[in-house]
Amino acid sequence: MSFRCTPGTVTGFLGPNGAGKSTTMRLICGLTPPTGGHATVAGRPYRQLANPGREVGILLDASAQHPGRTGRETLTLAAHLLRMPTSRVAELLARVDLPAAAARKRVGDYSLGMRQRLGLAQALLGEPRALILDEPANGLDPEGIYWMRGLLRDFANRGGTVLLSSHLLREVEAVADRLVMIGNGRVVAQGAKDELLSGAGMRVRAVDPAALHHALAAAGLSATPADGGALLVDATAEAVGRAAAAAGVVLLELQPGRARGLEEMFLSLTNGTTTPEGTAR
């Protein structure tokens, strides 16, 4: 497994449960010893960073907080370790929309969504230029997820680097510029999101699949069957549309096909039927 995250980008780290996302993140942070290989943050092994929280904000598990401590106290402790002024605490509580009343409550009384906000505040406390977030959208309501996307986008637009993991492709698609997809501890696909999600190939579906197949063959386009009676065609949308129009075939669907390809690959990983070369079925 080898990948790299660059400043100004949000990298979505995808994989089914148990694929090794969290383990990889713990490896980066020096919490889990690697059996081989290495990880660097800002060009150095994590453990050699003088004050790592100032370089990279970490949120590995929002639930991993002492339930008997208040939210404000949790952030105050982190501020001391980060050598940040404690005035940062109120600033961050406001930034993540945790009202003062909630900050005075003990973390044990927090919902998962509130813990995610607290964890994000903790990660941002040291003014880091990078963020490593493990499933940060878990437990957030739709409004919260939308808010977090905006926050991460803004962070990256100002030159920050974000690595966030998720087991939901759609969730990551909305915010990431780059995707790294892993399965069984290996990278199965990585690259710019636009390249991975669009690129060559169209997915097309018609009222009469057989007629469509003939029309495409007549136009010299090769097609492979996909799910739901659709065909994957290695051609532009225009070429497929013209071929269908020429034969009078009524189309129900015509869209970039690789998105489905990526999703199918992701689903096949989730089902445990890994495709070793990282190609879609």
Binding site: M1, S2, F3, R4, C5, T6, P7, G8, T24, R26, L27, I28, C29, G30, L31, T32, P33, G36, G37, H38, A39, T40, V41, A42, G43, Y46, R47, L49, A50, N51, P52, G53, R54, E55, V56, I58, L60, D61, S63, A64, Q65, H66, P67, G68, E73, L77, A78, H80, L81, L82, R83, Q122, R129, A130, L131, I132, G159, G160, T161, L163
Partner: protein, 259 residues
Amino acid sequence: MTVTAPARATATVATPPHSPVPLWRLTAVELRKMADTRSGASLLAVVGLLAAAVVTVLSLSSDAPEFDFGGLLGPTVLPAAVLLPVLGVLSVTSEWSQRTTLTTYALVPRRMRVAAAKVLAALALAVLAYAACLAATAAALPFAGDPDPWHLPASALGKAGLFLVVNVLLGVAFGMLLLNSALAIVLYFVLPIAWSILGEMVAALARPAEWLDLSVTSGLLLEPVMTGRDWARLGASVAVWIVLPMVLGLVRVARREIK
């Protein structure tokens, strides 16, 4: 596996030099963590109330005229000596049971520094508690009727403080070795009982118990006089029950995967 995570922003962004957290600050944070949770705060409150109750009852009792400073100090220190070790245990084990290790060791990756800070914080806790006990004893002294109440050899003062320190460090050592709150606290309370029961039942254990039963050897610190042999007994039991568990515990803490 090669993972190159967030590379540093290019030269356009100025890089402020970050320095590591100094050990004193780490220690202050660890001390604060002992008191800022619900369990920690309640435990400290219980210790304070018990100590206040002990010193009040003793100074108002009919025996009060017999007490001098040392006589009052011993019982006043006892609640702290029994209960603060639990705080020492929790200081280490709660990090693992509540999984706050994910935060602690992400912010301070050098685990031995955190461990050192925890030991220092436990020492500071013992010293602070001892100072409070001294103050409470001094406040109660006018009510005691000893003709020379302030008479107290410096050695007795030091030994009572050491008694507290030994107990609190025992808690930290057990916590580090077992990394499990319940197990460490139970062992801390059961061990002295086990020694006394076994010592009575098995004659062959009577002599080793003299050297290895820490509850007995540390109790010597509250006696007026300690011989060289007594110090040796204390040293032996401290080596077995504090130094050894702590060394093994440090190895565990350093190696354990954090999840």
